[in-house]
C-alpha cells in the first residue's frame, strides 16, 4: 500500500510540476494555485480543530501517522514551489535581457552611419531626433 502512495506522490509531483511549469503563468494556472492554497488552508484549520482527523485520512492511504501525510504534502508543495519559482525567474530574466539589450543597442555608436565624422561617437536615434 505504501508503495502505491509513493507512486501516486511521485506522479503528483511530476504532473503538477509540469502542468504549472509549462505554459507559463496564465489565469488558469494562477486559479489552480489559489484553489490548492485554499484547500491547504482548509485542511490546516480542520486539523487544528480535529487533531485526529489527519491520522484518520492517513489511515485511508495506509500511512501511519497524520504528520507523515503532512510531511509528504509539504514535500510535494515545496517541489512545485521550486519548479514554478524557477520558471518565473527565467521569464523575468528573459525580459530583463531583452530590455538591457535594447538599451545597449540604442546607446551604441553606429560607425557605418557617420563614417566621416569621428567625433560623433554616441548618436542614439539620430534619425528620429533629426525628424522631430
Amino acid at each position: 500500500m505504501l508503495i502505491l502512495i509513493q507512486a501516486l506522490l511521485i506522479v503528483a509531483v511530476v504532473v503538477v510540476s509540469l502542468v504549472l511549469m509549462r505554459g507559463g503563468s496564465n489565469a488558469r494556472h494562477l486559479a489552480v494555485r489559489r484553489i490548492m492554497l485554499i484547500l491547504f488552508t482548509l485542511a490546516a484549520v480542520l486539523s487544528i480543530f480535529f487533531p485526529e482527523l489527519l491520522s484518520v485520512v492517513a489511515g485511508w492511504f495506509g500511512i501511519g501517522r497524520g504528520t507523515d501525510l503532512v510531511l509528504y504534502g509539504l514535500v510535494v508543495s515545496f517541489l512545485v514551489f521550486v519548479a514554478t519559482t524557477y520558471q518565473r525567474f527565467r521569464q523575468t530574466e528573459i525580459s530583463l535581457t531583452k530590455l538591457s539589450r535594447r538599451i545597449a543597442l540604442d546607446e551604441a555608436e553606429r560607425p557605418w552611419e557617420a563614417p566621416s565624422n569621428p567625433t560623433a561617437h554616441v548618436r542614439p536615434h539620430n534619425e528620429k531626433k533629426a525628424g522631430s
Binding site: 535581457t97 538599451i103 551604441a108 555608436e109
Partner: protein, 221 residues
C-alpha cells in the same frame, strides 16, 4: 561591399582585451566589444584600442553578450559575416581570417572552430575528456557530428546569424547555438583552430565543474 564584424563578449578583461583588439584590427577593421557590465575600465581600454563598445547596463552573461553582438553587427547593412572571438586572447587571428575566407568562398554558411582537428592545441587530458563527452552528447541530442562543441571561435554568415536567437544567458549558450543550428540546418564545416592556453585564459576560462552548470541549465530551460 562586404564587411566582417568581430564580436567580442567582454567582462572584466582590462589586462588583455586591448592587445586582443589591436591584434585583430589590421585584419578585421570592424571590432565590437560587448561590455557585460565590467567594473575594471575594460570599456575605456577597448575604445582606445579602436573597437566599438556596446555596453550592457547590467551583467547578463556571455550568451546574452554574444546575442547582443550579433544583433549589433546585423544592424550594419554591409555586414556579410560575423566572427565570434574570445576576449582572453586564446584565439588566433589567422584562424579567424581563414574561417572567413572559407565562408566567403561559399563552401559553408557557418564555419565552426575545432581544437581537435590538428595537433597544435596542447590540452590537459581531463579537459579533453570533458570536451569530447560534451561533443558526443551534442551529437546524440542534435545529430550534428561536431568534434568540438564548445569552441568560441566561429564565422557566421549573415543569413544564419539573423536566425540565431540565444536565450541562455550564461554558459549553456554554446549548446543552445548547436541545437538551433541543428534545426536551421545550414551548410556547416569545422575548421582546425589553435587554442592558446595562457595562465590568464586558464584562470578566466570555464572550470570543469562548470559543466555541471551547463547540464543543469539545459535540463531546466
Amino acid at each position: 561591399m562586404s564587411r566582417t564584424w568581430v564580436v567580442i563578449p567582454m567582462y572584466n578583461e582590462c589586462t588583455v582585451v586591448g592587445d586582443v583588439i589591436s591584434g585583430l584590427l589590421p585584419t578585421f577593421p570592424n571590432v565590437v566589444c560587448i561590455d557585460d557590465g565590467s567594473a575594471d575600465g575594460s570599456q575605456k581600454i577597448a575604445r582606445e584600442a579602436g573597437a566599438v563598445v556596446v555596453q550592457h547596463p547590467i551583467n547578463l552573461g556571455q550568451g546574452a553578450a554574444l546575442q547582443t553582438g550579433i544583433e549589433f553587427a546585423l544592424q550594419d547593412p554591409a555586414t556579410d559575416s560575423i566572427v565570434t572571438f574570445d576576449a582572453d586572447g586564446q584565439h588566433r587571428v589567422d584562424d579567424a581570417f581563414a574561417m572567413v575566407q572559407r565562408l566567403r568562398s561559399g563552401e559553408a554558411e557557418i564555419v565552426l572552430g575545432s581544437r581537435f582537428l590538428d595537433s597544435r592545441t596542447k590540452i590537459a587530458p581531463l579537459k579533453k575528456l570533458v570536451l569530447k563527452t560534451a561533443a558526443l552528447q551534442s551529437k546524440l541530442s542534435t545529430g550534428l557530428d561536431l568534434t568540438d562543441a564548445h569552441n568560441g571561435l566561429r564565422a557566421i554568415g549573415r543569413d544564419v546569424a539573423t536566425q540565431i536567437d540565444l536565450t541562455q544567458n550564461r554558459m549553456a549558450h554554446a549548446s543552445e547555438l548547436i541545437h538551433q543550428l541543428a534545426v536551421l540546418n545550414p551548410r556547416w564545416v569545422e575548421h582546425p583552430v589553435e587554442i592558446i592556453y595562457t595562465d590568464y585564459s586558464k584562470a578566466k576560462g570555464q572550470s570543469l565543474l562548470n559543466s555541471v552548470n551547463i547540464l543543469a541549465e539545459l535540463f531546466l530551460r
